[in-house]
């Protein structure tokens, strides 16, 4: 038992270190001047991509758990979600600092006038309450039911992330569409799980009613 717990600690640590690898790579490439001709755009692209990847990985935890029966996976979900927030934060900082140089006026204009920024920015802002309520004490304070309701926002956020990506590419939409398809599968899984018992129940009620009316 003790050994098992020890193993899970190592798993968590391993996931934590793995989640930092994209940042390490970015920092290394920046230090060795391997970010290409337009390093700032590269940093913006990479942090944005990793935000979306972590959102999708987080959303994959529940289906992966159900299919594999490996229930302890749930223990790393919070960390994965927080890393989505972390990379999202880096993405926003890159934009606010290296793209807009803290010009509040320009940022506001961008958020209002450019739909892809409106969507991206909204998605990031919506991540904040989820990050804030991710602690165990907050889960207790909110109560499981309300906490879960609040955290369903992540579906909206992920859709926002994909739309943001789709609208920002100049013309070649292959990559955003791939991310969109992965998200669609992950959401369809939930829709199916949500609707299946209800459908069964509905069908049963309908049969009963039909039987009674005979």
């Amino acid at each position: 038992m003790r050994q098992l717990l020890w193993g899970w600690k190592w798993l968590k640590l391993g996931v934590f270190v793995a989640c930092l690898m994209p940042l390490a790579m970015l920092a290394w490439n920046a230090a060795t001047k391997n970010l290409g001709a337009n390093p700032i755009d590269e940093i913006t692209d990479q942090t944005g991509l990793w935000t979306l990847r972590f959102l999708l990985i987080t959303l994959a935890v529940t289906p992966a758990r159900r299919f594999s029966g490996w229930n302890r996976l749930i223990q790393v979900r919070r960390m994965l979600g927080l890393f989505a927030f972390f990379y999202g934060g880096l993405h926003v900082v890159t934009y606010v600092w290296l793209d807009q140089f803290f010009s509040v006026e320009d940022i506001l204009a961008d958020v209002v006038e450019r739909p892809f920024i409106t969507v991206g920015f909204t998605s990031f802002v919506l991540l904040i309450p989820l990050a804030v309520t991710s602690t165990t004490s907050m889960i207790k304070r909110l109560g499981g039911k309300w906490w879960q309701r609040l955290h369903r926002l992540v579906y909206v956020i992920a859709i926002g992330g994909v739309v943001h990506f789709l609208w920002v590419v100049k013309f070649d939409t292959r990559l955003p569409l791939i991310y969109g398809s992965v998200l669609a599968v992950l959401l369809a899984y939930r829709l199916w799980f949500w609707s299946e018992p209800r459908l069964k129940l509905g069908l049963a009620l309908f049969r009963k009613a039909a039987a009674v009316s005979k």
Binding site: L20, M21, L23, A24, M25, L26, A27, W28, N29, A30, A31, T32, K33, N34, L35, G36, A37, N38, P39, I40, D41, I43, L98, D99, F101, D106, A109, D110, E113, R114, P115, F116, W167, V168, K170, F171, D172
Partner: protein, 324 residues
């Protein structure tokens, strides 16, 4: 959708170079990433380009007898490595670093250019015949991409107007239409219908005759690298970069405004004129500022890319928001 005849090797079976390039980059980084570098990257770190040598280069060939031009800017040049590795050339790939690799074996010899339409001397001319009478000059121009970045590039070329006059356009020639080579075997990007191939661009005749408009055959005093549009490309410095069409095989003189590739692909985003204009935003992003490659802070974009004194009169009285 374009329906194409299947070639011997399905395009789906060819590994997209993007993936193995990405993989190499990843491996390179991963092997080194044992050290987690603190994220305190300074501006200095973020402004210069790769130190490691890229793939083996095409043989670089110097061009002799290039005259200086008073039309050149004296701004600092964008490094050769950036000019020749950061390219939008969708005929090869939509990724910016891929054209330099994919165009390495592109054949620019023999090359011919068809002169067609409303001209007294139409015909198919060899590149040598096209170039022969024109003394070459260096023109150091700003180049502003519609994506929000810019460069300063020392082109080698000659005024397009001098060439046009040789072929004697008729009075019906109001516009000039340019076409890029269509050769999916050599240009892998053309195997997918991202854009409608071949690439077509156009200018009003007075724009084409303007002394700033050149046909380029080189940069940095050397023969034009393939990824930069060899062997012959247009350079119109006051318009967004995509107007400066690459690897030209046809110049056609027409009466009506030609349908251009980007305007066809997304009519509300890319107009026929596409003059650099900080006051007319792209529907999805602002054009007010640009990042000069190699610089840290963004700079203000200038109307007509800073060439307003020379070209402003071409658009007198025109509503630049309508004719964007």
């Amino acid at each position: 959708m374009l329906i194409k005849k299947a070639s011997d090797i399905k395009s789906s079976e060819i590994t997209d170079p993007k993936w193995y390039v990405e993989r190499r980059r990843f491996l390179k980084a991963a092997s080194a990433a044992a050290v987690v570098v603190a994220a305190g990257a300074t501006p200095v770190l973020l402004t210069s380009t790769s130190e490691t040598a890229p793939e083996p280069e095409q043989t670089r060939q110097k061009i002799e007898n290039v005259a200086k031009s008073p039309l050149s800017t004296d701004e600092p040049l964008t490094p050769y490595e950036d000019v020749t590795n950061y390219n939008n050339f969708y005929e090869f790939d939509t990724d910016k670093y891929s054209p330099a690799k994919l165009a390495k074996n592109f054949r620019t010899k023999p090359w011919s250019v068809a002169i067609e339409g409303e001209v007294l001397k139409p015909g198919v001319y060899t590149l040598e015949d096209i170039l022969k009478p024109h003394p070459l000059e260096e023109r150091i121009y700003r180049l502003r991409c519609v994506e929000g970045w810019s460069m300063v590039i020392p082109w080698v070329g000659f005024p397009l107007g001098d060439l046009i006059k040789r072929f004697e356009p008729t009075s019906k020639a109001n516009f000039v239409e340019f076409t890029t080579l269509y050769d999916p075997e050599q240009m892998p990007g053309q195997r997918r219908s991202v854009l409608k191939w071949p690439y077509v661009e156009g200018l009003r005749l007075d724009e084409a005759l303007h002394p700033l408009t050149i046909l380029a055959v080189g940069l940095y005093g050397e023969v034009l690298p393939n990824q930069n549009g060899a062997p012959l490309r247009l350079v119109v410095p006051w318009k967004y970069g995509f107007k400066s069409i690459k690897s030209i095989v046809k110049i056609r003189f027409v009466e009506q405004q030609p349908m251009t590739t980007w305007a066809l692909a997304a009519p509300h985003e890319y107009g026929f004129y596409s003059n650099v204009n900080p006051d007319v935003p792209h529907p999805r992003w602002s054009q007010a500022r640009e990042r000069r490659i190699g610089e840290f802070a963004k700079r203000k974009t200038l109307i007509f890319n800073g060439y307003a004194d020379q070209v402003g009169h071409l658009y007198a009285g025109m509503d630049l928001r309508k004719f964007f």
